[in-house]
């Protein structure tokens, strides 16, 4: 190939890449939009789009209560928590170069969940304070896992095994607190054990949306450095990326996202874990992995919730549905990783 041909080939490829990223992300946004629409308009029966619009606009004769007070908060909570879990999950997976190192496998979701339950049930906190407690507890667990697996960034099997152990311990804390709870409520318990958007209210949505803006923004700001960090610490630092600083910011952002989402909807099983690998399949090695994973997270929660509500013989919370999808994939990854130590 001549220089000019190479130039054309590279420029052409970048254009195609760019188009591909836009197309894939556009497709995912459209899918999310369809699922939101589905959640808003369909329950046992479906509303006509005109009736849905009328209800959203607050017309007198429209089914306003069902749409605005039941379904809209549910769709909104599914959307924002899905985005948070997807983004937080993929950030950890990329940073630690291991799909098993997602926050819901290594105990961060579990710790945020346990802290949130403790804060709500025992301390009677609510709102932002619960989320803040969850964030702090998530960070504490990260530091603990880091220390126990003797630091040095990379995601050895050690870090993951320790994380799984910590996760199991914290899940039992959650179960214990729920048993001790004065008003035993099965729905509430399911929320904290597997994650659920049942009975969602707009009041739960706003803190998560805030977290999405703040921590998602932080993640976006470090995403290029995070991408360079995949070349290894030395190569990244030689390219002007501060490895520890980048890891710290990614960790804070991801824990913030996961903890806020968890304190609103519980640790919706495996959404953080599944989103990144699915997004990697959708996007290929091109850019746009982070936003794609966020959108996949939203798709998983919205679709999982719809399936759990209306497409199974029993009504199940979303976390049970996503858990049923995620568990086999976890097994598959463990088998595959044992063979070749795969990356995301």
């Amino acid at each position: 190939m001549s220089a000019a041909e190479v130039h054309m080939a590279l420029a052409g490829r970048r254009q195609r890449e760019g188009r591909r990223v836009v197309l894939a992300l556009g497709g995912l946004v459209a899918l999310v939009f369809c699922l939101v629409f589905l959640t808003l308009s369909c329950g046992r029966g479906c509303l006509a789009p005109a009736d849905l619009m009328a209800a959203l606009l607050g017309h007198e004769d429209a089914p306003g209560f069902i749409v605005n007070d039941l379904r809209l908060p549910r769709a909104a909570l599914s959307l924002v928590t899905g985005l948070c879990f997807g983004l937080g999950g993929v950030a950890f997976q990329v940073m630690l170069r291991n799909p098993l190192a997602s926050p819901d496998i290594i105990g961060i979701s579990a710790s945020a969940g346990a802290a949130a339950v403790f804060a709500i049930v025992i301390l009677s906190f609510d709102g932002w304070v619960v989320s803040a407690v969850a964030v702090v507890s998530g960070l504490v667990v990260v530091v603990m896992i880091w220390a126990l697996s003797s630091r040095r960034g990379a995601a050895g099997a050690r870090l993951i095994l320790i994380g799984i152990g910590v996760s199991a311990m914290l899940d039992s804390v959650t179960a214990y607190v729920l048993l001790e709870a004065p008003a035993w409520d099965r729905a509430e318990a399911m929320r904290w054990l597997t994650g659920s958007v049942n009975g969602a209210q707009m009041g739960q949505v706003w803190p998560v949306l805030g977290a999405l803006v703040v921590f998602g923004g932080l993640l976006a700001a470090v995403s290029r450095d995070l991408d360079i960090l995949r070349l290894g610490d030395d190569a990244a630092q030689a390219l002007g990326v501060r490895a520890d600083g980048t890891r710290l910011r990614v960790t804070v952002a991801a824990v913030g996202l996961v903890a806020f989402a968890t304190s609103a909807a519980g640790p919706i099983s495996f959404v953080a874990f599944l989103s990144g690998p699915i997004a990697a399949r959708v996007m290929g090695p091109s850019r746009g992995l982070l936003p794609a994973a966020g959108l996949i997270g939203a798709v998983l929660v919205l679709a999982g919730d719809y399936v759990g509500q209306f497409m199974l013989p029993y009504r199940l919370p979303v976390g049970v549905v996503t858990g049923a999808v995620g568990a086999p994939f976890l097994l598959y990854l463990i088998v595959r990783t044992n063979r070749n130590g795969g990356t995301i």
Binding site: V6, A221, R224, I228, L231, A235, A238, G284, T343
Partner: protein, 271 residues
């Protein structure tokens, strides 16, 4: 290679460095000749990588300093250093499924701002790097599908795309067959001649180090044993002290310089 390198003064002053409480490098003072090729040789685990990592601002020294044009690199912002000095580490990691041109493009990172888009200068640098390393033909292939030698040239292309005035390379020829070793070293000389890039490389093959370097540094146990013109540094005493190996020095019929022939316990005709 259209952009000429500036001659940069890279010096280490009484440098000591290590990991945790363990000190590896002790009292290393070094002046890297600007615009020349310097080779660092020494036994396994004597601190060659540690020295390169400290020079490249990756490792914080325990004592002493590294100066780039008189400024302490460990006080400079990492991006500013990365625009002037690059390092190809001993074992970089390739993200799964990445294509050659994508990987080479990563070398442009220190020249790009948070929001700045890919520029024409980035394009030119990547194309020049592909051209110089002879990797143009597989620019669109995935890195995983290439041979070891091709892959190493791609990593070097990434370092070239960074367009730094100083380039540090940690064992760029290890794992390559002899033909590819020569190819990589020739490529580094090409670049040094064409751009005036200052090159510092760790090499395992003493004879190739002597042949290709303008300046040779022999490191033993974290200290500089000797340094200077390769003809002066490569002596039987140096090889004995640094590698614990007996040898004869003879003339390299190709370069006309010295060359080392090792003496083992077997297969020797010496009396």
């Amino acid at each position: 290679m259209n952009v000429m390198a500036k001659a940069r003064q890279l010096t280490a002053q009484e440098l000591s460095a290590g990991y945790d409480r363990r000190t590896i490098l002790e009292d290393v003072s070094l002046e890297v000749p600007a615009g020349k090729i310097t080779a660092i040789v020494g036994g396994n685990a004597c601190g060659k990588s540690t020295l390169l990592r400290t020079l490249a601002r990756i490792l914080q020294p325990k004592g002493g300093s590294v100066l780039l044009d008189g400024k302490a690199v460990h006080q400079m912002p990492s991006r500013a250093v990365a625009q002037v000095m690059g390092l190809l580490p001993q074992s970089p990691i390739a993200p799964e499924g990445i294509t050659v041109s994508d990987l080479v493009g990563r070398g442009r990172h220190p020249h790009q701002g948070l929001f700045s888009r890919w520029s024409a200068a980035d394009d030119r640098a990547v194309e020049a790097a592909l051209e110089a390393t002879g990797t143009r033909a597989f620019a669109e292939r995935e890195l995983d599908t290439l041979s070891g030698g091709q892959r190493q040239r791609v990593w070097i292309a990434m370092a070239l795309a960074q367009e730094t005035d100083v380039l540090l390379l940690d064992e760029p020829t290890t794992f390559l067959d002899v033909a590819h070793q020569i190819e990589v070293l020739d490529l580094l000389v090409d670049m040094n001649l064409a751009r005036g890039t200052t090159v510092v490389m760790v090499l395992h093959d003493l004879n190739l180090a002597v042949r290709y370097a303008d300046h040779l540094v022999a490191l033993a146990d974290g200290r500089i044993h000797s340094e200077g013109a390769p003809e002066a540094v490569l002596t039987e005493d140096m090889v004995r002290a640094v590698f614990g190996l007996e040898c004869r020095i003879q003339r390299d019929p190709i370069s006309g310089g010295p060359s080392m022939v090792p003496i083992g316990r077997h297969k020797s005709q010496l009396a």
